[in-house]
């Protein structure tokens, strides 16, 4: 019987030591993560949430299919001046974008959609949660700044989506179980939300002089507000007579210095090679930085853009048409060459790139590089130069920023808006200023409104090649069919291809869309 007592004793000890409350036992929480309810405690939390809201810009979070291949293929390949690079034919899905034979299941169409909506979810979290923070947690000034930036970002993500896709779903509130599925909005509804967000942000934000580089500013909000009106003006589903006027009103304070001090940079190619980042011409700039041991925010866009001959991956090339367009005014620049912006935008066979004394092409000459790679001088090849550092070889990942909005674009859009609203002489002055500083070119001689518009179309090619504007400009000018025809892109029809389709994944999973 002694054993029995032992057993009872043991059982007693065990039961008493383990008899903590069942509910306590079941209560398990993450040991290293806060929750949506316990976060948003102070200004640091609010700032950190805002950082995440920036992180989806230009699909950079999905590095390969979003930023590195998706965005350039979707935005650059569809330009009439682009050609697939030598490596592109190995990727059927790149070629389907180039040939306009893609379907709504295309991975890039999917990724770009998804990443922008992630950005919207994050921006909405910041706007709602920071909005709910009381004054003991965050100062009013800081709150206003943070919500202003998040509001700009919400406008930006919606704008990005609406310019790419035929229709979008508006996301302006915190997501919940009930709002997972939501119907498409009409384009006019979407424009209204975008314009309202940019307007609101412009009121809340500081000028560039008082803001940390990389953040949204009053100038950026106004520039995108104006751009939204310009695009809306060229969108038959939504255009209104007042659009150009409203665009001009938005650009005006930027040009007049009321939204911060902006100016044209004299060294055109320094805008794109990572040597002069966040400069005085930069209005909104996507930030990259060489990776270090604690973070990786680097890019390899230059590898996609760069040709095999200069150590790139040969993702993209350019047509001879763009060289001809850029040479069209002749060698009338102040230095006796073509428009300076031709050399800042393209590599092609030209004495400028074949001078062994200056080695202007990545430290070498065209002929030397071409003979090495292709065993001929590749006379008819043209490659883009923007977004390349001065020396592509041996650079796997770089920190070259990508300018999304710069002062020259604002000036040209302002000139266009003025020209459209009858202020052609004022427009001509602005155009001449840009030509002189960036192109070393003499003033233009045309004066009629129609001729000035043609000149603006030419100037936008000179200035903004490979800056994700060409396809969208052609669309708002209603020139897509004509330009694609001229480029031999026979599959293209504006009716089917002016906008990307709603991704299959959205249609499949969103029960509010049929």
């Amino acid at each position: 019987m002694k054993n029995v007592y032992k057993i009872v004793l043991v059982a007693l000890i065990i039961t008493t030591t383990t008899s903590c409350n069942d509910d306590d036992f079941l209560e398990q929480t993450s040991v290293d993560q806060l929750t949506s309810a316990s976060f948003w405690r102070n200004a640091e939390d609010a700032q950190s949430g805002l950082v995440a809201a920036y992180s989806e810009l230009e699909s950079r979070s999905n590095f390969w299919d979003g930023w590195q291949e998706g965005r350039p293929v979707v935005e650059y390949f569809r330009s009439d001046y682009a050609l697939p690079g030598p490596d592109a034919s190995n990727y059927a899905h790149w070629m389907s974008i180039y040939n306009f034979t893609y379907t709504n299941g295309h991975t890039f169409i999917d990724v770009i959609w998804t990443t922008n909506y992630k950005g919207l979810n994050f921006a909405n979290q910041v706007i709602t949660k920071v909005g709910e923070m009381t004054s003991d947690k965050i100062s009013e000034a800081e709150k206003k700044q943070i919500i202003g930036e998040a509001t700009f970002l919400r406008g930006y993500y919606h704008f990005k989506l609406l310019t790419l896709y035929e229709q979008i779903i508006l996301r302006t509130e915190l997501i919940s179980n009930e709002t997972l599925d939501k119907p498409l909005s009409t384009r006019p509804e979407a424009w209204e939300v975008i314009i309202s967000d940019f307007k609101q942000a412009a009121e809340m934000l500081q000028t560039v002089d008082n803001t940390e580089p990389g953040r949204a500013t009053k100038g950026a909000a106004l520039a995108y507000l104006g751009k939204a009106y310009m695009y809306k003006a060229g969108d038959p589903s939504s255009s209104e007579a007042s659009d150009f006027e409203n665009a001009a009103l938005a650009f005006k304070p930027i040009v007049e210095g009321a939204a911060g001090s902006y100016a044209l940079e004299s060294d055109f190619s320094s805008l794109f090679n990572g040597e002069n980042e966040n400069n005085k011409e930069s209005i909104f700039e996507l930030q990259f930085k060489t990776a270090d041991a604690t973070s990786n925010n680097s890019t390899r866009l230059h590898a996609f853009v760069g040709d095999w001959s200069i150590g790139g991956w040969g993702g993209i090339a350019a047509t001879m048409d763009i060289v001809n367009e850029m040479k069209s005014e002749g060698m009338i620049a102040s230095n006796g060459l073509y428009d300076n912006r031709l050399y800042g935008s393209l590599y092609f066979r030209d004495p400028f790139y074949n001078d062994p004394n200056t080695n202007q092409m990545q430290g070498s000459t065209w002929d030397e590089l071409m003979m090495e790679t292709y065993e001929n001088t590749n006379d008819n090849a043209v490659y883009f130069r923007k977004w390349l550092p001065n020396y592509v070889w041996n650079n796997s990942y770089v920190g070259v920023n990508v300018v999304l909005m710069r002062y020259a674009d604002v000036l040209l859009m302002y000139a266009e808006a003025l020209n459209e609203t009858g202020a052609t002489p004022q427009a001509i002055d602005i155009i001449n200023n840009v030509r002189a500083v960036h192109g070393h070119m003499p003033p233009i001689t045309v004066t009629s409104q129609a001729d000035v518009k043609k000149q603006i179309i030419h100037e936008r090619t000179m200035e903004l090649t490979l800056e994700s504007v060409r396809f969208f400009d052609l669309r708002r000018w209603n020139m897509l069919d004509q330009a694609m025809q001229a480029a031999g892109r026979s599959n293209f029809s504006a009716a089917s291809h002016a906008y990307l389709p709603i991704p299959l994944s959205e249609i499949n999973s969103n029960s509010a869309i049929n």
Binding site: D22, L26, G49, H93, S96, I109
Partner: protein, 1031 residues
Amino acid sequence: MKKKQSKNQIHSYKSLFLLLFVFVSFGFMTNTHAQGILVKGTITDNAGIPVAGATVMLKSDPSVGTQSDFDGNYSLEVPNNQTILVFSYLGFATKEIMVGSQTTINVSLQESAEDLDEIVIVGYGTQKKSDVTGAISSVKSEDLTKVVTTNPVDALQGRVSGVTVTSSSGSPGSTSDITIRGIGSFGNNQPLYIVDGVQADPYFLNANDIESIEVLKDAASGAIYGTRAANGVIIITTKKGKAGKTKIEIESSLSSNTAREDMKLLDADGYVSVHRQMYENAGASLPQYVQNPPNVNTNWIDETHRTGQLNLLNVRVSGASDNINYSVAGSYADEKGILIGSGFTKKGINANLSSTKGKLKINTSLNYSETNQEDYKFSLRETYFISPLIPVLDPSKPSGYGYRSGDLPDHRNPVGEAAIIDGYTKMKYFLGNVGFTYEIIEGLNANANFSLANRDNYTYAFHPPFQVRDIDDNPQNEYAFVSEYNSEFRRLNQEYTLNYQFDLGKHSVNLLAGYQRISEPFKETYVQAEGYKFDENGDKIPATILDPSFNTMNAFGDGTYSAEGTNAEYALVSQFGRVNYAYNDRYLFQASVRRDGSSKFGKNNQYGVFPSVAAGWKITDEDFMKNQNIFNFLKLRFSWGQAGNDSALGYYDYIALISQGKDRSNGGYIFGNPQTSYLGSIARDLQNDDLQWETNTSSNFGIDFASLGNKLKGAINYYSTTTQDLLITKEVSPSSGVNNPIVNVGEFENKGLELELGYVNKDGEFGYSAFGTFTTINSEVTKLSNANQKLYGIGLLFGSDHFVNQTQVGYEPGAYFLPVADGIFQSQAEIDAHGAQPNASPGDIRFVDQNGDGVIDSKDETYQGTAIPKYEYSLSLSADYKKFDFNIFFQGVGGNKIYNGNDFRLLSLDTGRNFRAEAENAWTPSNTNTNIPRAVLGDPNRNSRASTRFLEKGDYLRIKTIQIGYSLPTNILETLELDKLRVYLTGQDLFTFTKYSGLDPEVGGSVLSRGIDINLYPKYKSIIFGVQLAF
């Protein structure tokens, strides 16, 4: 804080008890025998033939006993002449004889249906098989070990009706997909595994350590396990010592494994010719490699495949005497995979000890196992894609391994990758269980059980800098890389039960009440080092690694390091009870209920209650059945019950957690001058406080019978199961911007008929038996969030296109919905007449415009069947004559379809990759009698879109094993002083009869994406030689 402390205490108590118990147990073993009477005799069957291996034991103490030798002889010392001896042997009626004055007792055993009265393990106890009211099937060790595998539950394939085992991979150490009675959940469909009374992972057991496996198929049988039992329960009992002398058993086998079928790809000439067609048909200029191909012809399949091997060894020492019963086994498995670089080893010890001290009984079982899995380190996809014009070795390349030159398509050299990359996963698994049973009064037992399961996982990867393709899209390859992952999973289980069994006249009652707590803490850390650092300009430069072969964290000195890690815990609390009642041993009744609380749910739904009832009627015991001789045994059963499932959930899925990151990929961004990376913090998930259990409600109607003098036995079950509130990781609309959440969605229904039939007979020295199973499965999704909802499976093209499976109300989960491919257009006239395919040319695929709207799009997708077989069957035929034994085991499925995903890639002749050898039969104006469309770059007609073109019938019949064995005769064994020596030769998976054109028709998948055969590790067939030795 307080909580933590008490948990640690529990743990330390448990360790203490374990230690204590081991010492105590060995103490018992030194006890000396009491002196008594020596009884001898011979045991024979009713034909007078000696029965070897029959058990003789004391009725008063079953742990004292012996077994008859090969001549049927036994001898046993008994305490006194009042001792009752129990003689038993499987398939024979048990006999009890009082010793009295006899010292020689010869016994003749009668063959009978008694194995219906064999004991079956049920949840928290045992039952006589004839008393079982639920749907429970048993598999014995002899059948399990016929299939040679490193994962014992694989051997269940075809052994039990209603259990589906699908092995999609031939990778050494891989696991199979096991479902019981169809797919009941979108998440985890794995049954609950109970090993010797505790939840455990059977992967770490050895098939030879298993005595029996019971499969609890209906919810009523599983309901006592509550929230974890919705997918059925598999109870594994490991081997215990048997009364008699110490027994040593050794079993060893050696398998030679080769691919069941090899992928046949184009050789160099075929490659050039198909690529030429592809470019010419697209009107594109021919690449250099077509105009002027290099003189290389590599067969990448031969280069990456080889003959594999599997060695198994198991040694067991077991026995029982007086108050102690023990069984200790060691096992070793070593497998070389059929893909280069892959392999697996497993070493394990399994020990069972039990002892009684008065009214106290103590059971201990310990299992320790180590595995080392080395997966193949190249991509099968790239192996299929890479050009035969690329040499394996190329001294002109820096790595010495060939990759493209000129304008050849660029793919990774698999041989190079396999040789350069090092990596493996090692697991250590420990399961310790100690149980105390104390008999308070007769029939009333108190039981306390404590167990600890611990699984450590260590994954290592290393490579020096290398390049095996021209444009290397993995930047990590440029620099050396090493990573180590460590995780520790533990399950601490305490369980207290009271069990009272009593008979009152014709009433027999068994009551069970219990309380259980499980906590599962989990920890993990990951560290990696990369062989680069940053120079003063912020550019990456190689770090200083003293020797390129140095492969530890320290070796990467000034390289770049990163680390992550976390802890989490799952907790479960339960109360449960059960009543079993039998009247006159004829009318059987059972009811149970279990209440579970789980930490995986929000406050709204933390507890769930799972009831069950069951009844049985042994008709043959009724008077009116006495005069019939059709049935020797007949029982009707009915059961209804509920079980739950929370396994689809992670630790904190109902909470929206804030995740942080400083990189472009995880929420970081840059501001400032100089530029600074900032940490981003945001919720990426959806908050969902209403998450709750998946509940599985099932009814079962069954008949057990025996006939033809108990030679024919069988069971028939019909079941119907509904799973409600299914938990699913829902593909959420991407525009919501949140990660795919887990939500309760919809309802599944599974119905089926199961038949198990066995026939055993012996004619003199010729014995033969047949055992067959037949199962029908009818799965249907009966409800989703909304009636028109479609849940898509994975997209085979970058995940965003080429969707094959859809889950819709009214169909099987993950059914195929595809446009119908209707042959090949032979002329422009046919294309014009069809009208819906403007981009087609002669030689392209014609698709059916189902709705006649003049376009082929998603509206033309129609239901095309399912990957879930409509029926499954098996047949095992055995025979033995004298010392020879023979077994052949057939297993098959029917009514299912397979999507040949490899063909989607390898017969889509549209881009720069290699193709299947059949591609040479592509349509050309002079080769029109073919089902392979023309080769054309860019595929303007989208011949390769998801369609029935790649869908094939999946029926198969396989000779799973065919075995012939020979045992040495008794006289030779006696001279060798052995009890048993048997050698056998087995052919495993040698023959498969199927029309499926892919490598193998056994293709698994997830619930939503089932039956897609793409880039699977090829499966193998084996020739196995084995030896079994006992002394």
